[in-house]
Symmetry: C2
Subunit: 213 residues, 2 copies
Amino acid sequence: MPETTATEGQGTAAEEHDRPRLRDPEGTRRRILAAALQEFSAKGIDGARVDAIAERAGTNKRMLYYYFGSKDDLFRAVLRQRLAERAPMARERDRTGPARLVELHDKLEGSMDYVRLLMWEGLERGRRREVEQELLRRDSLVEWCDEVREAQRRGDLPDDLDAEQLVLSELALVMFPFAFPQITRLVTGQLPTDAAFKVERRAFLERLTSRFD
Amino acid sequence: MPETTATEGQGTAAEEHDRPRLRDPEGTRRRILAAALQEFSAKGIDGARVDAIAERAGTNKRMLYYYFGSKDDLFRAVLRQRLAERAPMARERDRTGPARLVELHDKLEGSMDYVRLLMWEGLERGRRREVEQELLRRDSLVEWCDEVREAQRRGDLPDDLDAEQLVLSELALVMFPFAFPQITRLVTGQLPTDAAFKVERRAFLERLTSRFD
DNA sequence: GGTACAGTTAACTATCTAGTTAGTACACGA
DNA sequence: TCGTGTACTAACTAGATAGTTAACTGTACC
């Protein structure tokens, strides 16, 4: 018979408010995903520690394997969820109007974790043929390119530039500072998370678009 | 007294050509750096394995600590060396002329390992106040910004755009595809290392510059 | 009120990994 | 030819880490 320390701290009613439900499958799952998002975003797949994720989620490491199978599967689940969350936002955006870069910048600036997740994906998985949510992502990007071509036909965007390359470049302009914080700091003296930087970048993107179209 | 297996395979003259010099301090150091560059570039600091670096360098793991002190110090040594190698190239380049983006693209396309090293630095060390070769890098970038401002005064570049933001954006346009190979593939159908992609990107950057200035 | 199963836990294990110990051998100057 | 320091090596270690075991428990359903 094992030492019965397991029940320690669960008997008293005073502690009930700490953990309202003793069992909460969906909650546990959600908490693990949230904790994993933070951990993976901060340290990548190799750098993240399974124990740290479990502790952050306020649960046991075993639950992580119970729900997700492996560290790698957990990373993919996190990425899948985050991508699915953002997918609908892309469609809402005006992707060809004069405010498109500023709008994209605003959408992205609050989700550093998302950009970092994509970077880890690129570095640790970039060579793969298939990527998480391949079809969803490709469809979304193809749609964007189609809209650009449409706008080119209308004359709203310059038609001598390849649509795909243009989309790639707009992503570059907005994502790059968040992806390379050290370069951003070396060039501008500020980190991409600084409020002052965001204001300057925003203003720059605004002027760039107006000058460009 | 330990077993004297150490001399095994070193006595015969027939094996001499495998290892021309039994001692080659500079060579060993160089081989470790080269191996570390490959390993760190491919897998990052956390992902790289010290044993793998030693094996790739054809030496013993102990030598790595003998010459560089720690895994972390080795990474910094690799980064420092690579940055020092590239520093003079920046000054040679014409950074304000109409071919500047294409030229930067050409300079960068052969050194994926360099871009990846910078990405790992950004992800695993981005928050730090100081970065490897801080002064060298900042000086180089400040010089670039000054040249841009000069060109703006001359009227060669649009003067309503902040010089720092412009430099950051030009780096973004060129580095982004290499940093996000999976996004590049999803948008264009090609990896940034594909010859076809490079041609297209080059053409795009050329047209972009001519339309912009 | 019993029972079956999903949810939860602590403790365990095999393996890996950065870093070390302690010793060997080459080269070079005296 | 001897002695000394630099270069080099194999084997080891302590701690970490992903993943597992097995036992336990709340809960839904009968």
